[in-house]
């Protein structure tokens, strides 16, 4: 059953990523250089919608709180984020969109995947020395959410109810998605229609 769900949800995810232009490096780079923010608006809206539905579903008792999976906070999250961001802007791909882009026929995405496999291997080899630096040690409580989610196995950074906060933040993401201008520089050239 799990495998069937992986096939269905995975295929939907890949399909939607392609449909919002996320498999196209030109769209990604125009977003990251703040020239064309249509994709950014879609991403912000998606986070907001996902958040509202998940926390709303939890409050209604329809969504299993145990399905949440919160990652640990540590200094390496920020450093890794910087590295990922630099490579993302260089190539116009992130891991998920890179594999999808290769599937749409983009040759450069194959080189991205090859580089990615080597980068992941380099981390596997250097992991013990990275760990020894202490940048993987949990900070601010480690696996924490911003509020305290009822029934979740994670601590909250703040005591306020995490599900209510999740819905409020979700609404803020939606509002920001609408507020962000599609072309901040008044750029009249639309993103390539593919």
């Amino acid at each position: 059953m799990q495998i069937v769900l992986a096939l269905i949800i995975g295929a939907l995810f890949g399909f939607v990523l392609d449909r919002i232009g996320a498999t196209n490096p030109t769209v990604l780079i125009r977003m990251l250089s703040l020239r064309s923010l249509g994709l950014m608006k879609a991403i912000l809206l998606a986070i907001g919608v996902g958040s509202i539905l998940m926390f709303g579903g939890q409050m209604a008792g329809l969504v299993d709180v145990g399905h949440m999976s919160v990652k640990t906070a540590y200094v390496g999250v920020f450093i890794g984020g910087l590295l990922l961001g630099a490579g993302w802007a260089l190539s116009g791909f992130c891991p998920g969109t890179g594999v999808c882009a290769a599937a749409t026929g983009r040759k450069d995405a194959l080189f991205f995947i090859l580089g990615g496999l080597l980068g992941a291997a380099a981390y596997m080899i250097t992991y013990p020395s990275v760990k020894a630096t202490g940048i993987l040690d949990a900070i601010a409580g480690g696996k924490v959410t911003l509020g305290t989610v009822p029934g979740a196995k994670y601590d909250g950074l703040m005591a306020m109810p995490g599900d209510v906060l999740g819905i409020v933040l979700g609404l803020i993401f939606v509002a920001v998605a609408f507020a962000v201008p599609e072309a901040p520089g008044g750029d009249a050239v639309p993103a390539p229609a593919e």
């Binding site: 890949g14 392609d18 490096p25 996902g50 999250v77 891991p95 593919e194």
Partner: protein
């Protein structure tokens, strides 16, 4: 045939919600490690071994957290690995339905052409180096754009916000400096 951002954003949000409703939050970058492990285990079958209560590895990273990565390497038909294969199928179907990217785009994307001309080798080198940095960074961070940024911020995870701050702090200046045209 790019979807309007409102429809696209709602569709993407529904997919992330569906994942957490039925199984668990979406993540991708771990599967680069799993594929590396599968390849390395073919070359050196000693890499991943079965223990009394699961799996372990001679590689410290595969062996961490009770050997959960080692287990995925040993059992290829697991949810997360199949998920990424299915993503490729979904993207392929979408691309076919819209008539593909076109031969020029598949050779090199328009933004590269606008900035560096018809230099496919240069593009492939940039994509390769970019891929290396992206995956090293994602593994150091413990997740990527999907797992940390989207799934993480959706769940109000502190780590998701830290990751997004780092990613955009680097991505915006690099994109602005590298690609002035197009």
């Amino acid at each position: 045939m790019t979807l309007n951002w409102k429809i696209g954003g709602v569709a993407l949000g529904l997919v992330f919600f569906l994942a957490v409703l039925l199984v668990k939050p979406i993540g991708v970058s771990t599967q680069f490690v799993i594929l590396d492990g599968i390849i390395a285990d073919v070359v050196n079958p000693e890499l991943v071994t079965k223990t009394d209560d699961g799996y372990t590895s001679t590689n410290a990273y595969l062996a961490k957290s009770g050997g959960k990565y080692a287990k995925s390497v040993a059992n290829l038909l697991n949810y997360s690995f199949i998920f990424v294969i299915a993503m490729m199928v979904g993207a392929f179907l979408s691309a076919m339905m819209r008539g593909g990217n076109g031969a020029d785009e598949n050779k090199l994307p328009a933004i590269h052409y606008a900035n560096f001309g018809d230099t496919p080798i240069k593009r492939y080198a940039i994509a390769f180096v970019g891929g290396f940095i992206v995956l090293y960074g994602a593994r150091l961070a413990g997740g990527c754009t999907s797992g940390h940024m989207m799934s993480g911020m959706m769940q109000t995870a502190l780590s998701g916000y830290i990751f997004a701050a780092g990613a955009f702090a680097a991505a915006v200046p690099v994109a602005m400096m590298m690609y002035k045209k197009g």
